[in-house]
Symmetry: C2
Subunit: 403 residues, 2 copies
């Protein structure tokens, strides 16, 4: 086996993606894409390296000339290992661009000029694509004949519809997420320290299950007790206590594809009000799933949730889900395309993947339930097969609330 066999998808997968991106760019009258978001670069080439803390760029001519990948010199080998690009498609810049006043975007501009692309209509990633105002200024200064446009998340919108192979990988990620969540639900018990559970989760996310290893995970969100009023917290030095809920939101990554999953554990008997909250969320989930199908709009799903839960006294002002997929830690696993929220009129389509995120964070307490779904014409397909109930744990043995 050659090392390049570790590239997760066959060559045709990458050429199909490139075709779709080029078509979308051509439809908008763009000539050249300068992509700096590590997720978009990985999507189109496979390039898979945690070196995105320095400038990286993929130049994609819409005309059909070969893309060029520009990385720091010491990362050229990583591009050779993790992509099928030919060596002349990979360009490395020297460390003088890393440590001194020279900016790597000046090197990118030189590559554009050397290829005669400096007079084209060039799209750059103007918001959230690891592309800074200084980088923009440098390109504008170095390429005065170019006309610049915002990519307006062009690649993100292509990524939004997954291929069959991507869906298979996300199902594998889902299996690992289930495994890690099961480990967490069993580990949480009165007196156990939160970091011990976090460590067990990380190990499960990385080692994986059934011969499927995980890639680098995003930090699991964990909160116990009153901190469950907050969605994005980490473990503390505390130990778990009877009488408190714990929210766990985690996502295994498989070849960098994430499957978000959340569950709640209650140590000891939950108060009636908490059971009522759980029931309201469960009802809301059923209502949301009824609309999480091709043909409905993103906002319809939120509305269905809201109708089912408001009557039960639950208000969730934030969105109840979003597109999920390829994930690098510069921006978490959230894809900035579809949001299940009022005002998002995107029509759901088959092969979209949605993290349905139904956590409720109240003043003093919270409750978390989420799962990753594949949109179809009919019922949405979950990448998880864990039971959806609240887990109630006495004496270290988990029992689901319904049992």
């Amino acid at each position: 086996m050659s090392e390049r066999d570790q590239v997760p998808f066959p060559a045709t997968e990458y050429s199909d993606r490139l075709d779709r991106v080029r078509k979308a760019a051509d439809d908008r009258g763009l000539d050249l894409l300068v992509l700096t978001d590590p997720k978009n670069i990985c999507y189109l080439t496979g390039y898979d390296t945690y070196a995105f803390y320095v400038t990286q760029a993929l130049l994609v001519p819409v005309s059909g000339e070969q893309p060029r990948l520009i990385v720091r010199g010491i990362d050229v080998t990583a591009a050779q290992w993790t992509t099928r690009l030919s060596d002349d498609q990979i360009l490395g810049y020297g460390d003088e661009f890393v440590v001194q006043d020279a900016h790597p975007m000046a090197f990118v501009a030189d590559v554009i000029k050397a290829n005669g692309w400096h007079h084209l209509r060039i799209a750059v990633e103007c918001d959230g694509g690891s592309f800074s105002p200084l980088a923009m200024r440098i390109l504008e200064h170095e390429l005065p004949d170019a006309r610049f446009a915002d990519s307006r998340r062009l690649v993100e919108w292509v990524r939004c519809i997954k291929s069959t192979r991507e869906l298979a990988v996300m199902c594998e990620a889902g299996k690992i997420s289930d495994h890690a969540m099961s480990v967490a639900l069993e580990a949480i018990a009165p007196g156990v320290a939160e970091p011990a559970v976090a460590a067990a989760i990380y190990a499960a996310l990385v080692e994986g299950v059934d011969g499927l290893a995980g890639s680098s995970p995003w930090q699991p969100y964990m909160a116990a007790g009153q901190r469950t009023n907050s969605p994005h917290c980490r473990w503390t030095d505390r130990r778990y206590r009877v009488g408190e809920p714990t929210m766990i939101e985690l996502g295994a990554h498989r070849h960098n594809y994430a499957a978000g999953l959340s569950r709640t554990v209650f140590l000891g008997d939950p108060p009636d009000a908490y059971r009522a909250l759980d029931k309201a969320v469960q009802r809301g989930m059923a209502a949301a799933l009824d609309k999480l199908k091709a043909g409905y709009r993103a906002e319809d799903v939120k509305q269905a949730w809201q109708l089912a839960t408001t009557a039960r006294g639950v208000e969730k002002g934030s969105r109840i889900g979003y597109s999920i997929g390829l994930s690098f830690p510069d921006t978490c696993w959230v894809e900035r395309t579809v949001s299940l929220a009022a005002g998002d009129r995107t029509v759901l389509q088959p092969h979209m993947t949605i993290h349905l995120m139904l956590a409720v964070w109240l003043d003093k307490i919270g409750h978390s339930l989420s799962e990753t779904f594949i949109i179809t014409e009919g019922e949405p397909e979950s990448v998880s097969s864990l039971p959806r109930q609240l887990t109630v744990t006495h004496t270290g043995q988990p029992h689901r609330a319904g049992e």
Copy 2:
């Protein structure tokens, strides 16, 4: 114990930091800082949440008015848990800024206007601070009377000199890094799968040692065999084999402070050429440490390394270290201030912390050795106490090369 006791530093630490930042800003004639880099926000407030995939901003008036922290509405509680800011210093924007065309930077502009700060000289983080060209355009459009300047890494340069308390935390991170590396060195053996070792490393980094838990770690870099020619790779599905080197670069995080550490393991007897490479790196390290002291320039350290290693046939074109400290995964643990590289004339000062990164990545093979040091007037103090030798493992039992 109230939950806010989990804020890692006392209030005076944060007020000292704010004073230093304000003084540096005042010296440059700035009136208001708009900080968007999650590390800079955490540095000045403690705010510690993996929610930086949406816009966050800390407004710091240089005059002495209270800073304002602007986060997504659902993360206001996280600001309450992880900072000592008063509730009126924390402002949350609604999810309509997350899911629709409204941009959170327009909300930030409104806060600036509401406080009467719209005519000031405002510094923004123009490169690498999670601040996009679109965010810049919005501020310029909304605040036509403001004069904008690039912060030019103002807070990063303040962060470069650590307080005594920060050094103590970095030493704790160093202990955890040592622990995780020891776990890795013992786990790597012929036939063991790489993900199993990665899982053990993550668990050790998070659970920590001696009652010190880690916070979320950055992905450990791992490469075996020919892939050791590449610095920033991850584990693969392969199993370790006799006759191959493995590089491990990891960094425990303690309260988000990282301590970078690298070692190399060789399974079986290393060839003479590999032992010679190890010896050259060891000599280079001794030479570098001789200049890693207050008063020398950053480039002096690189030059000393180069003199010692070039004669032994080792060429390393990239820098041999950099400032390290507070770390969020948007940009790894690398602080973009001091680089040990030709052309960096920064004079080293006591309480700087440097990740001395001596890995060598050759055509077909690599070797890694790195450690995090505190600069003093005399010998640099390592935050690690692991032996610096190449580890040679036979039959699963590690023996260091010198033994």
